[in-house]
Symmetry: D2
Subunit: 337 residues, 4 copies
């Protein structure tokens, strides 16, 4: 931690900061510049209370040197984490394809979609039973009935399943019916929920919040890992910016950023990320080109009748096109689909 | 709802859209322009599934005419909502002052703060017992013990109390000990939590999420009201932008925006909104000048020892200055402190 | 300058960085932490090439300690700069009111507006003769003819005048006809233009760019001052964010931010800042409450016929209301209108 | 244009809006809904003054149906524009590679870079002679001397050249020495400069401003085309968001967005777009994968000694790696390098 003091700080005030640092259990290292005095706090940076230092009147800035996350970091674990679920590996050589409708609407709808995406080469079926909707008057999901349908479809198709958990009390239900727990973007900092899934044996896919920095995203993953669940998958799904040509701004820059900072697998969701079905295929190709380990794609047999997100869903034949267009990109970066 | 079709849409495709609109229970009103055909959907707009319309290939844009919220809107209720708790009215002529530490740390700390802010004229005591922290390794709050302290301090000082609820299961605890339930910014779209507090008898203060639009903010308030709890207080606490001169960008523009759109009271939190204790007083004055019904201010007897948010907390004597500086502003806008 | 090296940097690589720092003319001060080595570069920080240091493979982060601007800073000049033009002082006790139409349209229009705003108490007349318009097909301003009208109106009313300069070649024209040169938000980083007005004897009002940080804003003011013109006025006019309830997000947080960092006067433009005539009065009051030295307001005798910005212009009688509502706020903060 | 009136607008006020629309030369088409009246303005939308309509008190919203740009649009010209300069085609099947240093520093530096990038397969040499720098105290470029060096290097290597024009008066100089004129991001809305290069015979590459929407970006291109120069190349180089893991947020979403909206070629600059040399290769691959027609890459023979942008420059051998990694991606999308 580097502590920059205000210009003309007195010796007495410098000593006050030094005492504070030493009381926290670190060594203070004073460096007097031409205009400013800078204090380096040497030792275990996690002992430092940054807020408290900033509250000292003579302190101008406090700049951390170390990263605040541990378990998720490349420094902690050098090799890529590969998560195995049945025959599927997430984070390995194969690009993982997750696809399916926004909401589970009926057995027929889900089964039809599942068969189609499987035929095209996807291995994981997505579908929401509990839906976080902006409006209280919008369809809120089929609940347990939807999860049952998902389990039936899993049995008939052999696809791995993923569905969103919206609150801690739903954990037993989700664990009973699906293979991967999804934390939605709006819940990325629902810390109680993060701790709850951190105690589950099921892998968790954590979506990035619309205004989350890379650091905050990883801190939320750290919450899950710190409770014992190390099978965490990260998912970029677009951030909020001033842009209006897409619903969100899919931030592919975070893919190499995450690959550098963490060992966890990275999935990209261009359906939510752009909110426009026309843009899903080009951004899917871009995501794989810059290092994503997989894609999550909304597919619906009849988007015009979808109860949610029809505008960003692909028809099954469009999803098939996507698979065909992504395949040579995967090869070009030394992976396979 | 206005539906703009793509250029050169065929008669058959126009008919498909018209049929779709009519199937939803509305009347379609066709208007052919020089380059585009536009369809007005007349009737109960809430019956429309915007996503489904956007999923039709010949549809270019769908533009809603009406607002998606009802109970929170000025159209629904013309007069300002005034929430009475004990002797305190929120939303009336008096500017309401909420103050206190970020976290409850001890009886001594809270009582000392409470007495000081009361002396300066505040009527509501804030203090967190359950703390949403970015890091799993940071202090997470005293929990029920903290709430008990708050209740004791309430009894000794007569101040009204407010504290944050982080998940649905904490409701009985919060209801038992405090007067106003606070939903934090990170939980603004934790819809299950919104529904839960919507069934409580206690007033709820809802903080705006860091990337929430005015519409999304009001939709979250609508969630609470739609469950029966009409005592909702809105709180602006800063949004996330590219700016770095403040921790968040306090968006005072939303104060007149909310006053126009809704009848609910509006509080401003310049402590979180700016993240800098130096900026709290000027922005407090600005907030009251543009129409806020109250302020929420972090006050700590010793910010250098605060377990959280020391950098944005005011000392009690600084809070006293704030009260003295805000008072003439309140008067200037026809209110009182 | 603080240079943080990557973990496990070798002695040889540390030496390479030290040599680099010393070659730049500074002293290197090595501080070895538990996990990282940190090098402090002590001396004249302006000699440092931050980019070059970041380009060294063993360097992780480079953190400047000092501010990159000098002439504009409070450290350079403690007392507030007060700019005197005729009878008007900008930056002193009096809140300065600049008002007028977006575009000069005719003698009649400008004179009518000028008389009205003067009667209400404004002292500076604004009006554009060269208009930066998003569309090449929109009205581009009356040019020199407009400036002549402005000068005539100045003579008839005694108001001080301000108008925008869009490129260096227009300087002689602007200097001939108006009292204050305005640099528009879109030209905040048109560095040649900044240097050009830096060589003028006329005061310059510099508008903040829609995505400019406080530091960048001040660096642009530094460009003007570094050429010799010390009469620079800063103007906040809204930044670009995700918000849609206003056209821009007026960032009042920057008012105390600028007051702390610089001695230059600060004006706020709530007309462009919000883009909504309904919001101009409340945000004007807020701006004065948090320390602005003046306001710039769009006023038009007939907004429905304005050639530009009709939607954010006030009618003269609304401007009169604004003056009446701002006056008690000015008094409340110890200023006068 | 769709004009939505406020609830309960009187017949008289409806007529006032209708009259206004008809006075502008369009037909008004009234549609009365359950809660609102909506007026469609049918005819040449470019005749409408949106601001004036918004200034009418009974008008709630004005929503344009048509795009405000013409010459740049796909509707105006269906086929992709291909710009031929010597042997190089921009916008055709071949991915165009522009590379070189941020600033021209010496003949030796530029020639060395040029030979290296040519050997790797680039066809266009970039290098700045006039540099827009945030600080007035930073290196401002070699000026004409730099351009002369560029011309000499062009003669020795046969590479096409591109360099930035910062103001109108520099046009003769730039036209004399280089093949393509570049408008920098900070000048994207320097409308006089846009008009000036619009009268040149040289192709122009226009960089997107850091807070420009797709529409504003195209309107600036329209400025150039409206003056007669139809050889415009668009360049995405990152937008300003809250993210800090990159210097800017490279917005690849705009690539398919532009491809849909316009016939002009689209280049991506991941060097400025990310500001981190580590991220340049992955984002280059992503850009080509989602449809970019070319890349602009900063290359410097010795980034540690570069006078500007050393931190985001690639060494020549890294650029060679980039070419080798991009090639299979180009093939995968049916293009060649």
């Amino acid at each position: 931690m580097i502590i920059v003091l205000k210009p003309k700080t007195s010796e007495k005030d410098i000593k006050h900061v030094v005492d504070k640092v030493e009381k926290m259990g670190l060594k203070a290292h004073i460096s007097k510049g031409v205009e400013r005095t800078v204090i380096g706090a040497i030792g275990d940076e996690s002992l430092i209370r940054e807020d408290q230092l900033k509250a000292i009147p003579s302190v101008d800035k406090v700049m951390p040197i170390l990263k605040p996350y541990k378990l998720v970091s490349r420094e902690f674990k050098k090799e890529d984490t590969i998560i195995e679920i049945g025959d599927v590996s997430i984070g390995g050589k194969q690009i993982v394809m997750m696809a399916g409708p926004c909401s589970i609407e009926s057995k027929e709808q889900l089964l039809k979609t599942a068969k189609a995406i499987k035929k095209s080469g996807a291995t994981i079926l997505r579908g929401g039973a509990f839906k976080p909707r902006t409006s209280p008057y919008a369809f809120q999901g089929m609940g347990e009935e939807g999860l049952k349908i998902m389990q039936e479809v899993e049995k008939e198709t052999g696809l791995i399943t993923i569905s969103e958990i919206m609150e801690a009390s739903q954990l037993p239900l989700l664990e009973k019916y699906v293979d991967i727990l999804q934390i939605g973007a709006r819940n990325m900092q629902n810390f109680n929920l993060l701790k709850t899934v951190g105690r589950s044996k099921k892998p968790v896919m954590l979506k990035r919040g619309p205004s989350a920095t890379l650091k905050e995203f990883l801190m939320s993953a750290e919450y899950i890992m710190s409770e014992g669940n190390h099978n965490v998958i990260l998912c970029e799904r677009g951030i909020r910016t001033f842009c209006t040509h897409t619903r969100n701004t899919l931030d592919l820059n975070i893919v190499p950023g995450l690959k550098q900072a963490t060992h966890l697998p990275v999935i990209v969701d261009p359906s939510h990320g752009t909110g426009k079905h026309d843009f899903v295929i080009p951004l899917s190709k871009a995501a794989v080109a810059c290092g994503a380990d997989g894609l999550m794609i909304e597919v619906h047999p009849n988007p015009e009748e979808a109860v949610s997100d029809g505008d960003q869903s692909l028809l099954p034949n469009k999803f098939d096109d996507l698979m065909k267009e992504v395949e040579p990109i995967a090869k070009a970066v030394g992976r396979k689909l």
